[in-house]
Symmetry: C2
Subunit: 250 residues, 2 copies
Amino acid sequence: MLIEIKHNPSNLESMEIINEALSKRAFLILVLCCKVNYEGRARSKLGLGERTVLIKGDGSFIIHQDRNLEPINWQPPKTKLSVKLENDVIKIVGMRRKPKEQLELIISTVHLISYYFGSDTKDIELAGYEEDMRHMIMNNPDLIEKGFRPTSKEYQTPQGFIDIYGKDANGKIVIIELKSRKAGINAVKQLKRYINCFLDNKEFVRGILVAPSITDDARELLENNKMEYISLDPPKELKTKTTTTLDYFN
Amino acid sequence: MLIEIKHNPSNLESMEIINEALSKRAFLILVLCCKVNYEGRARSKLGLGERTVLIKGDGSFIIHQDRNLEPINWQPPKTKLSVKLENDVIKIVGMRRKPKEQLELIISTVHLISYYFGSDTKDIELAGYEEDMRHMIMNNPDLIEKGFRPTSKEYQTPQGFIDIYGKDANGKIVIIELKSRKAGINAVKQLKRYINCFLDNKEFVRGILVAPSITDDARELLENNKMEYISLDPPKELKTKTTTTLDYFN
DNA sequence: CTGTGGATCTCGTCG
DNA sequence: CGACGAGGTCCACAG
Ligand SMILES: [Mg+2]
Ligand SMILES: [Mg+2]
């Protein structure tokens, strides 16, 4: 893999390396002392401090402090980047149209600069999502209860799409709201709104909240509204086996 | 600033440097070829590729591909990290209890390893949020309309807290829903639900959605329900002035 | 510690 | 391109 690394470059050297990396759309890594200004959807100002900056070939611009998972400032992919040197201060500016916003990095000192061209073609495999729960239930409706028959197609109300719509063994309409994480009161409210769309039907419509767990408040609200809860974990099976070695087949 | 950098270390060297960085809670940066497995709230598997990894002193564990703003895999702060070398393969594991989850990084080759101890004490100043809008309106209620008088305290309905509650010049109840970004149909639905809490009052309750802009569907839904829209941008004034130089006072 | 809701949310999907 | 909704959301705040 092609990688360039420089320790404690001068600001002039840094500017040239940054220009090189930006023009070649490399993955650029900087450790530096900087101030940061953001203006656009919101506005922010960050005083001097040492930070790690990532700039990706797709225009992602990411500034990390030494704490927290999330970057302190950022710009999404497709940001237009430019760099200039003025009075021995480096400025990297990331601009976006729509929304109009810009992130300005004012650099006093660069401790580390590196850029590389890597190969990363593999896509991630994921499981454990709401959509996985839906597939599991459609393939095995008895997970809800014996005799439950979901309709094969999505059902739309004025309030939006119902996760799963079907009928129980007695022919009663059943509306299912799925949550792949612990369900709170908002999940119950959403289910209630779907049921309200059927009020003029006269016949009782069952509402079932399906989630791995539920908060106490949500459960109370659910029962007060004569709705039901079924505990179900989202399936987490991947299509391929997970390995912890570096075999050729992975 | 103290920083260590090594280009193309052996896996044994890498393991020792990673151990050093982890034990000292440094900010660790790696560019490497790896596979990644995650298991916990969900499950994921990522095949071999070159990635950039950040591990912060607070336990944040971040894996970036060469595209997208967001990391492909991660663990939040307070993750417990460990490293080992087996058959010349480095494994870094990040574990969390509650939720129980683990992220496993299986490394074949390290291209760059660096760790540092930086100084970053400044907090960010932010503006342009819903809370800023609320303050602005409370301090200048005429922004809504002449004669509007908000109550000083928050008002809670069974549906949750109302952003701003007050009365207009005619003494009619006014409920305001704030959005700091473009408002969609969900903002309108939320406002409608608050108003429904006052239905037994008999008297008409005004609902006003305040946002910088609104989608067409949301506007239609709003008007069909006899509610109003006021266009208002969140204020973006910072307490201190933004500078684009490196003056001592910043 | 849990629950709730905002966010420069991001990102995929669908129209 | 805009609207909409899920998310391993993260994160701050309140109870
Ligand atoms: Mg749903
Ligand atoms: Mg609100």
